[in-house]
Amino acid sequence: MPTVFATLAPSSVPTSSTVTQSANWFLENAWLVPLLPALSFVCILFFGKRLRYKGAELGIAAVALSLILAACAGVAWLDHRDNFVLHNTTDAGVEAVAGESYVAVQNSTQWLQSGGIEFSAGILVDGLSVMMLVMVSLVSLLVHVYSTDYVSDDKRYTHFFAFLSLFTAAMLFFVLSDNILQMIVGWELVGVCSFVLIGHWWEQKPNSDAALKAFLTNRVGDVGLLIGVITLFFAAGGGKTFDTIKINEAIVQGGVSHSALVVASLCLMAAVMSKSGQFILHTWLPDAMAGPTPVSALIHAATMVVAGVFMIARLYPVFFEGMQIGGSSINVMATIGAVTLVFGGLLAFVQNDIKKVLAYSTVSQLGYMVMALGVGAWTAAVFHLFTHAFFKANLFLGSGSVAHAVHSFDMKKDMGGLRKFMPKTYVTFIIGSLALAGLFPLAGFWSKDEILAGTGGWGLFGGTGGNGTYTFHLLMGMFGAALTAAYMTRCVYLTFHGTYRGGHGQHHEPHESGPRILVPLYILSGLAIVAGLANLPPGFQLVNNSWTERFGHFIEPVGSSYFPKIAHATPSWSLAVVASVVALFGAVAAFYYYFVKVDRLAKTTQQSLTELPEGLTESNALAGAGHKTLVNKYYLDHIYERGIVAATKGPLARAAYWVNQHMIDNAVNTTGETAVKMGRSMYDLVDQGVIDAFVDGSGRVSDATGEELRQINSGKVQNYAAILFAMAAVLAGAFIIIFAF
């Protein structure tokens, strides 16, 4: 009988010349990596509460095993990338296929069949997915460990770990997908986990509101995802396939109509905008900070929000052709990224909630990645995704450590001066901040520099090449770098410097967190220091040539048939120096304002200040005449304060925030309200009014005497009989008429 179950048997995949099925065991069986956390989810759900550590040990064990498998796969990939030779079986025998160096591993089985077409489910293992596997399982493991302390007295502890596991499984499943149908599945599953975890404390309405907002905003983007995927299914290659590689190959070979690709890429872009928090669909991301901090670190910084970036990277030919990234014309993707990175950075300035600063910072960094993809700097984007995961997770977990101590996220009310109480957290936080700000030689420096070089806009010293000259985007990127450095300086000052402002009504002083919180912080900050070395620019004279560009070499599928031919920008020393100076400039401006001026004022007035009092003239009056002289003396400072910092921090950022809170949020709210109103009025008018009235009215018509209003329901048998006979007569008449045809 059940031939149905035969569907689970593997079926051979007819693949292209850059895909193989046989490879190292760890690569072929990479599906085990998502499977383990998935099993752990089920086990925790059913048995978690009965276990000694309430399910946490299951989750940690599963994710640790996943990490080991992923690491083994990573090592295997390093070998595979360089040494694998694809063999072709012909009648004459087995022969090596020459000229192919980048061979992805695909392993799939039939999933379902409809309309005579078989759909498969499987894994696609190449550099990109291996990198994601390692990164996701590593961050996830650290977050798991961290959470055992952080949420230790939560009443839904077990439940929390179950969903962490499910999220990890879904994310790993997503990055391993070998077809876009499967990607949708993973995409939505991570969305649901995000929904559940944002709403973890659903007793409070704001939390459940935030969860709803996140899910619904993502759903709006998903409309684009659905339509884009469907368009690709029918348009790409005419073969009706979801297979990522086949779609990409068809596009690379140029067999797909451009208009279909334009539609598909724009639709998918909408999905990316919602998932990866791009301007104007980013508003859910800051709200999502309502969830527990480990969740913010894992989902809303390191992994889930980069799903959109990953999707662009995975389906790069679609966007490359659809948006014509090769030219230097202003394309949608790069521009959205550029706007997002500046907008997000500006917003980060005016936040009082430390997690919101980081959230807007994430928005901004995602903007960098999208912009990089938009200008054709594929490797730079993926590299930034990689480094960002470490330092941003580090920062989030650090903020969690702080919040754990002071029981609040409000920097202005409850923090300040924590450097003394939590020196270890302070150090890791500083490392994360410096990495994020992109200061040499931390991780952020290398990846951000690559993105800026990739814009190809650096023409001062001979140009950097690349896929086009995007000068505007370069400028935005530079500006963003300065902003990033500035707001992180502010954040560090408000949190760790000055004097402690919290502790209202609390007996004990804030204290350093325990080892389960600190160890993940150490590891992440270590990675934030060294991760950048993975992809040293070519021609970096300080090390051996074989140490440069390792990341790009292993990750970027150059030379494979499923990747477009993109040009690479040449790294430029001058650009690196200028970009660093710009970032430093931002940092110094903010440093001067907070660490020098505010600090001094605080000491003078014996108060714990977070800003200079509103209005600069008043602040000068308060600071006294000496201070006034000092300010006037430094004429440049004056311009900074009045011009750049004040303008940026004040009106501009406030205006942006206002736009964010009022215009866009309002638009979202109004849309929702309008939908409900429309629904209600339609229900009242059309449904209850017109259609029902029509039905009731038809009853009235059949009643010639019209004695009672609701004749149809009079309860009198004779009326029913009358209708019955009349209808029978009408039907018979209709029958006669049909015969007459």
């Binding site: 939505e188 459940s208 709803l212 899910f215 409309v223 339509i227 229900y683 045809f741």
Partner: protein, 526 residues
């Protein structure tokens, strides 16, 4: 069309076991409620056993042909035969029906609705089961019609006797709407009988004939009759107004059966009768069906947003979901129709489950008014989570059953059968995709206001509000498992339906329905 006539007692046994059980129960005195419950449960379990045997014994490599085929004379004078058989299209629906009924009886163990009288209630349910399974196996129009109508009366009484406050109005509305549709449907059947050369009600013959020899105008009229007849049952906009009333007033079990199986009779009729028998007319009507389907999707969703009653909201969501099913059917492609069948099964599991939950909520809180509920996750955490899970399934989360009804339907709308206007359907596709956002909106909104937050003061210390009871677990678990199982392995259903659907559309080719022809041949080539 090929038929396989082995084991041909099986379907007859499957159809009439519930009826036999019902007759047996007539003999048991009314007081002995326990025996009645036992008898009903055992009967339905027997039926389920037969259905499982059917699933086991079914020749999946031959899913396109009718199996367990029986063809004997029934009413000689009008040429109506007792013709029954099952193929890949009807098998999932039979299995669904056979699965749902025991769960309903398990649920009834402690939940006989007011005003009691378990005997009558259970007997009616069993008669319903005979009617529903009979409709899915019938291969003769008269037989189909008889079973189709057998379903009507028990449901009417179920609503009219065991319903809520406004039950009389609701039941009458249900009855009149459905009867009106049935009448037109019967008219169409008769027209087919008289206008085809063979003069038969045999569905196989009529399908192979596929409307040959009937003038195009007449075909359109006949199809219109069926369109309304089946459309009322589905229910399609604008024939849907009976549904919210019926669902709101019906007892929990009635709602579950109504949502899980009854609505499928209409869509099944489209797939089994209307389209294969009159492919030319189907092609002409397809844009209109599609239009009503997408209106239904948006309209149902907006209707949901306006509801203040949980059960009514779920009822309106049925309108939206059946819109997806109808959209799949309207594309006239194998993709779309497969999706439609999947959608029917998925909707049966998911919405059936939602109505079970609504029933249990009503039992605990004695109200379904959304704004009075809240904090279910605090007081009955498991039930709250189940509600969340089923909501997710209902809004079409990939990995759960609902997705495979929605997504392929939207997919099919991108590329409908040739002869059906492509541009129009692409428009429908976009609208349907937007419908998924609204679906998420109303379901999560429902979830937030009923399950999340703190319980309202009114119910904060109510001892009645308990978590899921053992009988509820037994009744619900199979549905929950099914939702996950079919979500993870959709091939289990697609594999069965696909050959039958492809062949059904292929049949149109032989009789020259060009539109469907090119579509399927293109699909086959891919």
């Amino acid at each position: 069309m090929n038929t396989i006539a082995e084991n041909n007692w099986l379907l007859t046994a499957l159809v009439f076991t519930p009826l036999a059980g019902a007759l047996l129960m007539v003999l048991i005195p009314e007081k002995d409620e326990r025996s009645h419950k036992q008898a009903a449960l055992i009967t339905s379990l027997l039926t389920l056993g037969l259905a499982v045997f059917l699933l086991w014994d079914f020749d999946y490599s031959n899913a396109a042909s009718l199996q367990y085929f029986v063809d004997t004379q029934w009413i000689e004078v009008i040429g109506a035969g007792y013709t029954i058989g099952v193929d890949g299209m009807s098998l999932p629906l039979i299995a669904l029906t056979a699965l749902i009924m025991p769960l309903v009886f398990v649920y009834s163990w402690h939940h006989i609705p007011e005003p009691g009288n378990a005997k009558a209630f259970l007997i009616l349910s069993l008669i319903l089961e005979t009617g529903m399974i009979g409709t899915f196996v019938a291969q003769d129009l008269v037989l189909f019609f008889v079973f189709f109508e057998v379903v009507l009366l028990p449901m009417f009484f179920m609503i009219a006797v065991w319903g809520g406050a406004n039950r009389r109005y609701a039941s009458l509305k249900f009855f009149l709407f459905t009867l009106f549709g049935s009448a037109l449907m019967l008219l169409s059947f008769l027209a087919l009988y008289f206008l085809t050369d063979e003069g038969t009600f045999n569905m196989l013959v009529l399908t192979e004939n596929a409307g040959a020899g009937i003038a195009r105008g007449t075909q359109l009229l006949i199809f219109a009759g069926m369109f309304i007849g089946f459309g009322v049952k589905v229910p399609m906009f604008p024939f849907h107004t009976w549904l919210p009333d019926a669902h709101t007033e019906a007892p929990t079990q009635g709602s579950v059966i109504l949502a899980a199986v009854l609505l499928k009779l209409g869509t099944y009729g489209f797939i089994r009768i209307a389209i294969p028998m009159l492919p030319e007319a189907a092609e002409a009507w397809a844009p209109w069906i599609g239009l009503l389907a997408v209106i239904g999707i948006i309209y149902g969703a907006l209707g949901c947003l306006a509801q203040t009653d949980m059960k009514r909201l779920i009822a309106f969501s049925s309108v939206a979901h059946m819109g997806f099913v109808m959209l799949g059917i309207a594309t006239l492609t194998d993709f779309g129709i497969n999706a439609a069948i999947f959608g029917m099964v998925a909707h049966g599991l998911i919405t059936g489950m939602l109505f079970f939950i609504a029933g249990s909520v009503k039992e605990r809180y004695h109200t379904l008014e959304i704004k009075r509920l809240g904090g279910m996750l605090v007081q009955a955490p498991r039930m709250g989570w189940i509600l969340g899970f089923v909501s997710m399934a209902s809004l079409g989360l990939p990995g759960l059953a609902g997705f495979w009804g929605e997504f392929p339907a939207i997919l099919a709308a991108y590329n409908p059968a040739a002869g059906v206007p492509e541009g129009t359907f692409r428009g429908y596709m976009v609208v349907a995709a937007i419908g998924t956002v609204l679906a998420a909106g109303y379901l999560l909104w429902l979830l937030q206001r009923t399950a999340m937050g703190e319980p309202s003061i009114e119910f904060a210390d109510d001892p009645n509000i308990t978590d899921v009871s053992p009988t509820e677990w037994i009744a619900w678990t199979p549905l929950l498992v099914g939702i996950v199982l079919f979500g993870v392995a959709p091939g289990l259903i697609f594999e069965v339906t696909d050959p039958a659907v492809v062949q059904s559309l292929d049949n149109c080719i032989m009789t020259g329905c060009e539109g469907v022809q090119t579509a399927t041949s293109a699909a086959g080539g891919g």
